[in-house]
């Protein structure tokens, strides 16, 4: 398998809503087996960008090049409350017409990977927000997309749950060779886990910085990102939007 090749390349994407320019020539790139973080303030068009990559929205201008299949996990979990987690996760496999045994196997495998096994027979309203989020990810993961688009998977999760989820996400990318795009508001949350990070500006949005983190060990990635941002004089753009303490500067 071509493990390090380009999985996704969007070039000079422009998108306006009602005459208001949101994406102002945004380009990003992701390789196979990489976790790519996209960080930007509210309204900077992160969701819009993911929707464009997933084919749910058309850019006004620009090119989207995708190798394989890209599937999006929505910012809202959108689990179906009338189905158990097991059946929520199985939905896409059922629609694909897979045999029952195969479906069960794939669901258990994804559940195990995300730490959901003990919750499979619960309904969405019976589990915590973190578990629901994992189930929403599992529901897409079982479909085996080449590119997994996660829109703010960390929102509403406590620090420990975030860390655990990010570790699973890294495993999905590095061990299964998937490309995972993770959107979030804060560099602190995602930088240690990302192979590459894109920092978005306020709208009309451009890519403020694109930082390769692969050669930096996880513990030092955040300060590398801070370094680049202060060089750009843009430390204020992000990082503290959730009021989290900034890690040692």
């Amino acid at each position: 398998m071509e493990h390090r090749g380009i999985a996704l390349r969007v070039t000079s994407i422009y998108k306006s809503f009602g005459g208001r320019l949101v994406l102002n020539g945004v380009s990003i790139e992701a390789r196979r087996g990489e976790v790519v973080a996209i960080v930007g303030p509210n309204g900077s068009g992160k969701t819009t960008l993911l929707r464009i990559i997933a084919g749910l929205e058309k850019p006004d201008k620009g090119r989207v090049e995708i190798h394989g299949r890209a599937l999006l996990v929505f910012q809202e979990n959108l689990l179906l409350p009338w189905k158990k987690l097991r059946d929520n996760i199985a939905l896409g496999l059922v629609y694909a017409g897979l045999p029952r045994r195969e479906i069960e196997r794939k669901v258990s495998e994804a559940a195990k990977l995300l730490g959901l096994t003990e919750y499979l027979d619960k309904y969405p309203w019976q589990v915590s927000g973190g578990t629901a989020r994992k189930a929403a990810i599992a529901r897409i993961l079982v479909l085996d997309p080449d590119i997994l688009l996660l829109d703010e998977p960390l929102a509403g999760l406590d620090i420990r749950t975030r860390r655990a989820l990010l570790e699973r996400i890294v495993a999905i990318a590095h061990e299964k060779g998937k490309t995972v795009i993770v959107v979030d508001h804060s560099v602190e949350a995602v930088a240690p886990y990302a192979d590459r990070i894109y920092i978005m500006s306020y709208p009309p949005t451009r890519v403020e910085a694109s930082i390769d983190l692969r050669k930096t060990e996880p513990g030092k990635r955040l300060s590398l990102v801070y370094g680049v941002l202060s060089e750009l004089g843009r430390r204020e753009t992000l990082g503290t939007t959730r009021g989290e303490p900034r890690a040692g500067t």
């Binding site: 749910l56 809202e76 959108l78 179906l80």
Partner: protein
């Protein structure tokens, strides 16, 4: 029956923008026609002895209430759900069965509760006008016989039946369905 028709109209509503406008207009008209007119017209058409007028009037009263709820439910969640269904590879039928119809349950349950209440109250009136049975007929009957005790007795039965129906059936149903609302 009004429930069924409303659901059907509600689904038609999802299909086409022109249907959408037509159904909105129909609902406005239906809501503004007095129930008394329906009763009188239907009794004239079907005759005093027919069991149909009370049933039809009840349906006509229930329909706009349920329809309004279906439409509101559709507007709020259908776009996101449709996108999710696409993402998961569902076809149209699977989308309606697994996503759209169940998502209407909470608003439908609430509307059913108020629609059924309204429909029952109205059908009693319809029975009083033209029918050969039912609580409404009994009340009218005792009224004609100048027997207030009979009127009160049947009136009390009516109230008790409505309260029981609401507490034992409709309220639990609505509570259960509320779990089915999709968190945003």
């Amino acid at each position: 029956m009004g429930f069924g028709v409303a659901l059907l109209l509600g689904l038609l509503y999802t299909l086409h923008p022109v249907l959408r406008e037509a159904i909105r207009a129909l609902n406005t008209v239906l809501q503004s026609i007095s129930v008394l007119i329906w009763i009188v017209v239907l009794v004239m058409v079907f005759g005093v002895l027919s069991p149909l007028p009370p049933i039809l009037v009840a349906s006509l009263v229930a329909l706009p209430i349920v329809l309004a709820a279906v439409v509101a439910g559709l507007d709020s969640s259908s776009r996101k759900l449709a996108e999710l269904a696409t993402m998961l590879g569902a076809n149209k039928l699977q989308y309606y069965r697994d996503f759209l119809l169940p998502s209407l349950a909470p608003s439908l349950a609430g509307a059913t509760r108020s629609a059924l209440g309204a429909a029952l109250r109205i059908s009693v009136v319809a029975e009083a006008f033209g029918s050969s049975g039912g609580i409404g007929y009994m009340i009218a009957n005792y009224y004609n016989l100048a027997e207030p005790r009979g009127v009160f007795a049947w009136g009390t039965i009516l109230v008790v039946v409505m309260i029981l129906l609401d507490k034992l059936l409709l309220e639990p149903l609505e509570k259960r369905a509320a779990r089915w609302s999709i968190e945003a």
